[in-house]
């Protein structure tokens, strides 16, 4: 099946490591880094980037609006 592919960009300097995106992602794409950012937060990153469908769930629940989502529909879908 032609799967929709997505990717997220996390503004890691502004991420507060709240983990809400982690639990909101249906594909378990996101994890918190063991490193911290300048403010001392374990920021979010794509642990399994391939699993991302670009469903925007993570972005919808991110309180700090630090997630940007792009989505690529497989050709077949795009041309329909």
């Amino acid at each position: 099946m032609a799967k929709i592919k997505g990717t997220i960009l996390v503004d890691i300097d502004k991420c507060k490591g709240c983990e809400l995106c982690v639990v909101a992602c249906p594909s378990n794409v996101i994890k918190l880094a063991s490193d911290v950012n300048g403010k001392g937060y374990h920021f979010a990153y794509m642990e399994i980037p391939d699993a991302c469908t670009g469903c925007v769930n993570c972005a919808l629940v991110c309180p700090d609006s630090v997630i940007t989502v792009h989505r690529l529909r497989p050709k077949s879908v795009q041309t329909v």
Binding site: K5, T7, A24, D50, V61, P63, S65, L72, P74
Partner: protein
């Protein structure tokens, strides 16, 4: 092969499906990690963006954690004194009846000190939108009991839990204002899951459409978390909210004329 597609490919070839709205400034939100205020801010600004009314909107921020809302919302705003946002909004709307006016208030602000202003703005049917963030606590001042604090819930002024015999029961302002003829749309929502966020945003959109149509006052309660006040992680607080707040404050439309 699909797995050869990189993030860069997707960004280049795909579509941008989510991006922070331009109606939010670039300032870092002053809220604690995971605080619902952030999401509420965003969807409110998205609605204003999508309706194209940034240049006609005046917001009123309260005293509470969202006292600095004007640092984050990229619109003209007034900071009201504690509890008085509905009066301030009334003052604005009456002299600018064709502009969009909203208040954004916490539960201490709206349901304690501001009770009279809330009820009378609703009763007069001011053509405004009230966004009411109910996190069951006074977030900003360090987690004291709010009028909406749940029975037996701990706060810094109910360290052994809210004793309803002494302090009364949590007040349901939303149900009260729904009984007033001046309100046209009264709903209770949340912003802790993608679906809830979408529903809240729809409600906010409807509220502003109502304002355009001069239908009266639209009142949107958003049941939210206060990780710091509740002393929980964001994830736990959302769970606690579902299990404890929602039964007392059930989500859904209460009035929709």
């Amino acid at each position: 092969m699909e797995n050869t597609i990189t993030a860069q490919d997707i960004i280049r070839d795909g579509e941008l499906v989510f991006k922070k709205t331009a109606c939010l400034t670039d300032n870092v939100l002053s809220y604690c990690p995971g605080c619902g205020h952030g999401v509420a801010h965003r969807i409110l600004m998205e609605v204003i963006d999508e309706m194209g009314i940034q240049s006609q909107t005046i917001g009123v921020s309260p005293v509470g954690c969202s006292v600095l809302a004007y640092d984050f919302m990229n619109i003209d705003m007034q900071g009201a004194a504690h509890g008085r946002a509905p009066a301030v909004a009334t003052g604005i709307k009456r002299v600018f009846p064709n502009k969009f006016v909203f208040t954004y208030q916490g539960d201490g602000d709206l349901a304690a000190i501001g009770t009279a202003e809330t009820i009378h703005a609703c009763n007069r049917g001011e053509n405004i939108v009230i966004i009411f963030i109910n996190n069951g606590i006074y977030g900003m001042t360090g987690g004291q009991m709010a009028p909406t604090t749940l029975p037996n819930m701990k706060s810094s002024t109910t360290p052994y839990g809210r004793d309803v015999k002494m302090m009364g029961h949590p007040i349901k302002m939303t149900e009260i204002v729904a009984t007033l003829p001046g309100t046209c749309f009264v709903t209770r929502q949340a912003v802790h899951t993608p679906a809830a966020v979408n529903r809240s945003k729809k409600a906010i959109r409807k509220a502003f459409e109502n304002q355009k149509l001069n239908k009266g006052l639209s009142f949107i309660e958003i049941v939210s978390n206060c990780n710091s006040g509740w002393k929980m992680t964001p994830v736990k607080s959302n769970k606690w909210m579902e299990e404890n707040m929602f039964p007392y404050y059930p989500l859904g439309d209460i009035k929709d004329l």
